[in-house]
């Protein structure tokens, strides 16, 4: 059994799926090239990313297995959990080769692992639909920095593209150094060292202050309940939330 290496992109991973399924070979391990340090004993296969082959896999997963099943695989992939690629391999293989009904399967390990990871990613995505905060820059671009656990920018982008259609915005994953930029028509992901300097617009601090004031005023003193608040909004989410600025961080 061999160790497979790919370039770290989803397209690369789907290309890997294409070749391994075609050759009916289950990899011993799957690594992103950058993460692989090599060991003496395993034989490695490097996969060359091919958009067309990847699209073939995606299309047939959607058609033959269902859009939902494919989405689970994609979400799970974005969790970036160690070893998740192999679980996704098994999950898809089960679906394609054995025609297993993945939606109703609650017993197979790889299916469970994929579903669990997908659920975590989906939850975080839903959470950040609310928790991402944009700051207005001097050229009117909206800038939203955050640090999610999972690689969810590509899941948030369609939500904000539908909502803030006429605006230009940047979703900045500061942990992964990834910037997702939207120009009013379409969006793409770039490395954040390509971002220009960030200067707030004149009104920006005013609105931040009004928001903080609103946040303070809306709480009912008689119902003060910071534990309940922390249940809903754990401290790790608060770093980029303007309303929690200047609040003591307790842990």
């Amino acid at each position: 059994m061999k160790t497979y290496l790919y370039d770290g992109s989803f397209t690369g991973f789907m290309t890997l799926i294409y070749w391994t399924f075609k050759d009916k070979l289950r990899p011993a391990k799957i690594f992103k090239k950058a993460d692989y340090s090599g060991d003496l004993f395993s034989e490695t296969v490097g996969i060359e990313t091919d958009g067309e082959l990847a699209d073939k896999v995606i299309k047939s997963a959607k058609d033959k297995l269902s859009a939902r099943v494919f989405r689970k695989a994609y979400y799970a992939y974005l969790s970036e959990f160690p070893g998740i690629e192999l679980a996704i391999f098994d999950y898809l293989y089960l679906g394609f080769a054995y025609k297993a009904n993945l939606q109703k399967n609650w017993t197979d390990c790889s299916v469970l692992e994929v579903k669990k990871a997908a659920r975590k990613v989906s939850r975080e995505r839903h959470r950040y639909k609310g928790l991402l905060r944009f700051r207005e820059l001097d050229d009117g671009i909206l800038y939203g920095p955050y640090k999610p656990d999972y690689n969810i920018s590509s899941l948030l982008a369609p939500h904000f593209a539908a909502r803030l259609t006429g605006e230009q915005w940047i979703i900045h994953d500061t942990g992964r150094n990834l910037a997702t930029i939207y120009n009013g028509k379409s969006w793409l992901e770039i490395s954040d060292d390509l971002l220009p300097g960030l200067e707030f617009s004149e009104e920006e601090t005013d609105y931040q202050k009004i928001w903080q004031e609103f946040f303070r005023s809306i709480a009912i003193d008689e119902r003060y309940n910071p534990e309940l608040q922390a249940n809903f909004i754990p401290y790790k989410y608060r770093d980029y939330l303007l309303e929690f600025e200047n609040q003591v961080r307790r842990q």
């Binding site: 839903h126 639909k129 609310g130 928790l131 991402l132 905060r133 944009f134 700051r135 207005e136 909206l142 939203g144 904000f160 539908a162 909502r163 803030l164 259609t165 006429g166 605006e167 009104e203 005013d206 609105y207 202050k209 009004i210 928001w211 004031e213 609103f214 946040f215 005023s217 809306i218 709480a219 009912i220 003193d221 008689e222 119902r223 003060y224 309940n225 910071p226 534990e227 309940l228 608040q229 249940n231 809903f232 909004i233 939330l241 309303e243």
Partner: protein, 425 residues
């Protein structure tokens, strides 16, 4: 008008709006249009949680707190010495857009004190909505209050622009209205509710025939009742809610534990808001809407208030032991739902799972039922699982031991999707 000014107004008018409990922004889905900003997401999105643990999803403001009326329970009443402020329609619209594009909020919740007179106030609310929808092409969520006593044509106009509308009843009886809100007439509150309920149906019918018919409050209309400021018992309140749901086509009734504000000789002396009572009412309301319970099954003239020790379903079960135990392998959906510890999800799973094979106690656990609670009320393939004889007295003492006084700190607001799930099982 500069920003500092707006900030000061937000301080006063958000503070004044905060007792209005409904914050949910779900139930509407509105797509963005070309050149527009915003859409309404069908599943509620929370943008933050305030220090009292409530979900913030809407910019909740009063247009004005400068009230001509003098309702005893309200901080904005005319006789209360408080700083007063009013927005302009443009100001609220601009603030909403700027909050929205920074992703602070899902939309706007606009209410108002009665400023000058009901018609003038309602006109200002309509104007704000028009600027937002027409000028800014705002397609996010809007909840607007209908001001009691305003011309219904204005209210209807607002309904064509908003996602949700509400008229707050606040006091659960005519007598209390008379004594605590002397200038408000019961008919001024009930008539618009009735008309909104009728319009909801008529617009829908029209829309089937004429595509151009505008939506009318697509997320429905709601109301709020204050609990503990007037002498009504839970039974009377729940009966009222039941009537509102069936007669006015109402989406939700919100309950708000009375918060003693400035003292007034018309008000009862209370030490704090009756939060647990409010919680029980939310739970019972849930039973009415989704569990097919009737108010008269839960309470009655002889037992007019909820037991604060257990949730209303458990309480009902303990008082109706002749209906138990039920056989898990036979009982129908609605019967299963009445078993303490079994909610809609587990009831559905039980029914689909038992088609494959008869259920054992182990299966039940896997299906997500709270067996710890349910075991006293069920048979599983003829076997009673509680480990004690089926004796109502004995069961009551076991339940007492397990539940009395516990779980009282649960979610006190039943209005976000998240806490909905915790409300009852």
């Amino acid at each position: 008008m500069g920003q500092i000014d707006t900030q000061k107004k937000v301080e006063i008018l958000a503070e004044a709006a905060k007792y209005d409990v409904s914050c949910s922004s779900s139930g509407s889905s509105r797509a963005n249009q070309k050149g527009g900003i915003g859409n309404a997401a069908p599943s509620g999105i929370c943008h933050s949680w305030s220090a009292d643990g409530r979900c913030i999803s809407l910019l909740k403001l009063l247009f004005s707190n400068d009230c001509i009326y003098d309702c005893a329970y309200c901080i904005n009443r005319a006789s209360n010495h408080k700083p007063r402020a009013s927005f302009t329609a443009e100001e609220v619209a601009k603030l909403t857009i700027n909050f929205y594009k920074r992703n602070y909020i899902e939309g706007l919740f606009l209410s108002s004190a009665v400023f000058l007179n009901p018609d003038y106030t309602m006109e200002q609310l309509v104007k704000t909505l028009m600027i937002l929808r027409n000028q800014h092409k705002f397609n996010g969520y809007i909840h607007v209050k209908a001001i009691p006593g305003a011309d219904y044509r204005l209210i209807r106009q607002a309904g064509e622009l908003a996602d949700r509308m509400s008229v707050n009843i606040e006091l659960p009886s005519r007598e209390s209205l008379k004594s605590l809100a002397p200038q408000k007439k019961a008919t001024d509150i009930l008539r618009p509710m009735e008309q909104i309920g009728t319009d909801l149906i008529e617009y829908k019918e029209d829309k089937k025939k004429f595509k151009s018919t505008p939506d009318f409050v697509p997320a429905g209309h709601t109301t709020q009742l204050i609990v503990g400021v007037s002498p009504e018992k839970d039974y009377q309140i729940l009966k009222l809610s039941e009537g509102l749901y069936s007669r006015f086509n109402l989406k939700r009734v919100y309950y708000s534990a009375f918060m003693p504000v400035e003292p007034d000789k018309r008000l009862p002396a209370v030490s704090g808001p009756p939060l647990l009572r409010e919680h029980r009412l939310y739970q019972a309301d849930w039973l009415l809407r989704f569990y097919n319970f009737e108010a008269d099954e839960l309470l009655g003239p002889g037992r007019p208030d909820f037991n604060l020790d257990y949730d209303p379903k458990l309480d009902w079960a303990l008082n109706n032991m002749d209906k138990f135990p039920v056989e898990i392998n036979k009982a129908g959906y609605w019967q299963l739902l009445r078993v303490p510890g079994i909610g809609p999800t587990s009831a559905r799973r039980i029914i689909s799972a038992r088609k494959e094979a008869r259920l054992s106690a182990d299966n039940l656990k896997k299906l997500g039922s709270v067996l710890k609670r349910a075991k006293y009320f069920i048979l599983c393939d003829g076997k009673y699982l509680a480990g004690i004889p089926f004796d109502p007295e004995l069961i009551r003492s076991r339940v007492d031991r397990d539940y009395k006084g516990k779980n009282q700190q649960l979610s006190l607001f039943a209005d976000t999707d998240n806490d909905r799930r915790q409300v009852i099982s």
